[in-house]
Symmetry: C2
Subunit: 233 residues, 2 copies
Amino acid sequence: MAKTTTPPDQNGTKTLSDQAYQRLRSDIIHGVLQPDEKLRVEHLRQEYGVGASPLREALSRLTADGFVTAEGQRGFLVAPMSEEDLADITRLRILLEKQALCQSIESGDDAWESQIVAAFYQLEKVEESTDRDPVEWEVRNHDFHEALIAGCTSKWLRRFYSILYDQHKRYRNIALSTEIPRDLHQEHEELRNAALERDQKRAGDAIEHHILRTAEITQRVLREESLQKKERA
Amino acid sequence: MAKTTTPPDQNGTKTLSDQAYQRLRSDIIHGVLQPDEKLRVEHLRQEYGVGASPLREALSRLTADGFVTAEGQRGFLVAPMSEEDLADITRLRILLEKQALCQSIESGDDAWESQIVAAFYQLEKVEESTDRDPVEWEVRNHDFHEALIAGCTSKWLRRFYSILYDQHKRYRNIALSTEIPRDLHQEHEELRNAALERDQKRAGDAIEHHILRTAEITQRVLREESLQKKERA
DNA sequence: TTCAAGTTATTTATCGATATTTTTTGTAAT
DNA sequence: ATTACAAAAAATATCGATAAATAACTTGAA
């Protein structure tokens, strides 16, 4: 039978709140909206083409996620960034991703193994290509890490991990506006092998080392940036 | 100089959104709003005496916290409860509280020790009194656990732990409408001693054992309730 | 009786408007 | 100059109303 006239799916996501949420989240993670920047609802209205209500709902959710801070009656701000915060996120991400990975190794099946192999292959392709697209790499890297913990059935662990991964990603994006080449491939390979061999200890160490190394570089760039900032003042 | 007429602080918290958020959160945790219950904004408006906007903002935040689920264009629901979810929360709470406790033991100072002793004493008083007020106990229990991890400086660890603690509390409150007496005192004492002696291993084991035991009882009651539910159908 | 289609009714999601609150600007006095 | 105060401007938080979507109900036919 024929439906009325409206298409069932207007724009990928359903509600305007969701759209605003995803776009704001993405813009914060990718540095389009800078840390400590004031989020004026009136201004965002025009920019995003939605009303104040959906925006405020999206901002409320982002507040709970830690991407936005909301002060009393003084509106919303993009969450600040600091070395301490990065260190904090890093430490906790290691704890959670290690846990998720171990659970995954315990209960992962054949399909899980296949996904890891496939995701690693795609990531390898991007890492070894000459013209490395950073956006492409981000996607493949995320897919690989997701594949590793795909066997983890804990809803809450996934929820928290997902937040921390994106928080970490924000630091990477903001700090590495100048891309820094590094030999990640070796770490990814060790991670893949340890997982496929079901060696929890080795995989745990590998993921810890991998995250720590990534964070170190980000932290160094962050420190340099904040030094330059102080010099200007 | 004289201000206009309005008192500067209407009701403890500042915005109506915050008030609605806290009240909804509390009502969900304490079972006033039951799992899977539909949260009709129009109805809540009258009940809480606030407009739709602050309510929707509060519900959005609670969605991010996992106390409420929001489906597409079908409104808000109180988050469901299940044995699997309880097991999930329990496992992750152990991981996080253990971590927070160990960090706390490492960096806790004299004031931290004092707080633990004081909180334990107050908790002891409630536990040993003849007419045990469950609400009083909840507060003292929370204070004690907070005191134990007060030395933990990780903002993110605290944030996630706080959510899990309250999620756990919801299960306790819903399942233990009939209060079940149990010997918690011994476990609390072991926890206190291990912390004061700065024994991370012992404290970690104690907190794990303590949370597991609590969850077991809650789970048993939950199972009985769900069985009774099925019998009626 | 059961199923299906159309209609009514409820409720959600959104927008525009209003009243406070905060921030900024301007002015005068020390 | 600098501080203090007052007035204006901007922006926030909130409410009431409207349009769109879902759910409930009724009716009619197999």
